[in-house]
């Protein structure tokens, strides 16, 4: 596999503007509207997420459940979530995630997933660390269909 280009990561000084406001607002709208059926995409196909690194627990907005084709009340842990990624995308994501946690940087990466309803989807993953005392304690960001 080719080395992952470092331009996918960005310093936290670049954080302003990385989470585009229209995507963020779309997460809120998606949260209060429902797609016709599980696995179908709302017209706002974007969600926000957070991962608590103390136990890798996940918090997803409704849009992320829709993107992965899961019912909005389903329980999912991180181990289960990464199985939706295509292998090459999963490897890239894990490398960038580890780099982001180690070096306190954000990252943007386009990945391929196979949703729970069997549909292949290409999504943009935007992630930034939340630091406390110079240590990364959580990751948060957006997932959107591209």
């Amino acid at each position: 596999m080719e080395p992952l280009a470092l331009e996918h990561t960005w310093p936290l000084t670049d954080l302003p503007g990385r989470f585009e406001l229209d995507f963020v607002l779309s997460c809120a709208v998606t949260d209060i509207t429902s797609p016709p059926d599980v696995g179908e995409l709302n017209w706002h196909h974007v969600g926000c997420w957070e991962c608590d690194l103390s136990d890798n627990s996940l918090t997803w907005s409704a849009g992320v459940y829709d993107i992965f084709g899961l019912p909005r009340d389903s329980n999912i842990n991180r181990e289960e979530c990464v199985t939706f990624y295509c292998e090459e995308s999963r490897i890239k994501m894990e490398r960038l995630r580890a780099y982001a946690i180690k070096h306190r940087r954000g990252f943007t990466l386009d990945v391929d997933i196979r949703s729970a309803v069997g549909e292949e989807r290409r999504i943009r993953l935007i992630a930034a660390p939340i630091c406390r005392d110079n240590r990364v304690v959580r990751l948060h960001g957006l997932k959107l269909i591209i």
Partner: protein, 165 residues
């Protein structure tokens, strides 16, 4: 709805809607920070750099032309940045003329690259009080932070990993 945790214990917290609302507000605040100054600890985060690692990097940069044709290796900006960082670590000033000479390109090209560094806000030109003909150049806070983070995150961590083997 509560947050799912790997050991299946249900944590009594905010309802999911409240938790998601907090995430959305945090992301929105980040997107609004265009209009507010980035926290100082982020712009001025500039870890210590060992002079030894820096000297080795400068030597490695210069030694390339011992192995490969010099005309293919023009990398004046990197040479300038290394010189500026070394000057900062050694607490000395770098004149414009000195900076142009270490870049190993023609003076006219070096001046253009110096302007590019200033345009990117990585370096700042200062007026030399004693010598009106030769200003000096130093790293900006942005340039200092970027270079020191690079050395801390990439160069020194690779060297530490190599030392462990």
């Amino acid at each position: 709805m509560t947050r799912y945790t790997p050991d299946a214990k249900r944590v009594a917290q905010l309802p999911l809607q409240g938790k998601v609302g907090k995430i959305i507000r945090s992301l929105a605040k980040s997107s609004f920070e265009h209009a507010t100054p980035v926290p100082e600890e982020l712009t001025n985060f500039a870890p210590e750099v060992s002079e030894e690692a820096l000297t080795r990097s400068i030597e490695a940069w210069r030694e390339r032309s011992s192995y490969l044709p010099r005309e293919l290796l023009a990398d004046p900006v990197w040479g300038m940045l290394l010189e500026l960082l070394q000057a900062e670590v050694q607490d000395r000033r770098v004149s414009v003329s000195r900076l142009c000479s270490v870049s190993e390109v023609a003076p006219s090209a070096a001046v253009r690259w110096l302007k590019a560094l200033e345009h990117q806000e990585l370096a700042v030109r200062r007026i030399a009080p004693q010598d009106a003909d030769d200003d000096f150049v130093e790293l900006s806070s942005k340039g200092r932070s970027a270079l020191r983070c690079y050395f801390h995150d990439v160069v020194e961590s690779h060297q530490a990993l190599k030392a462990q083997r």
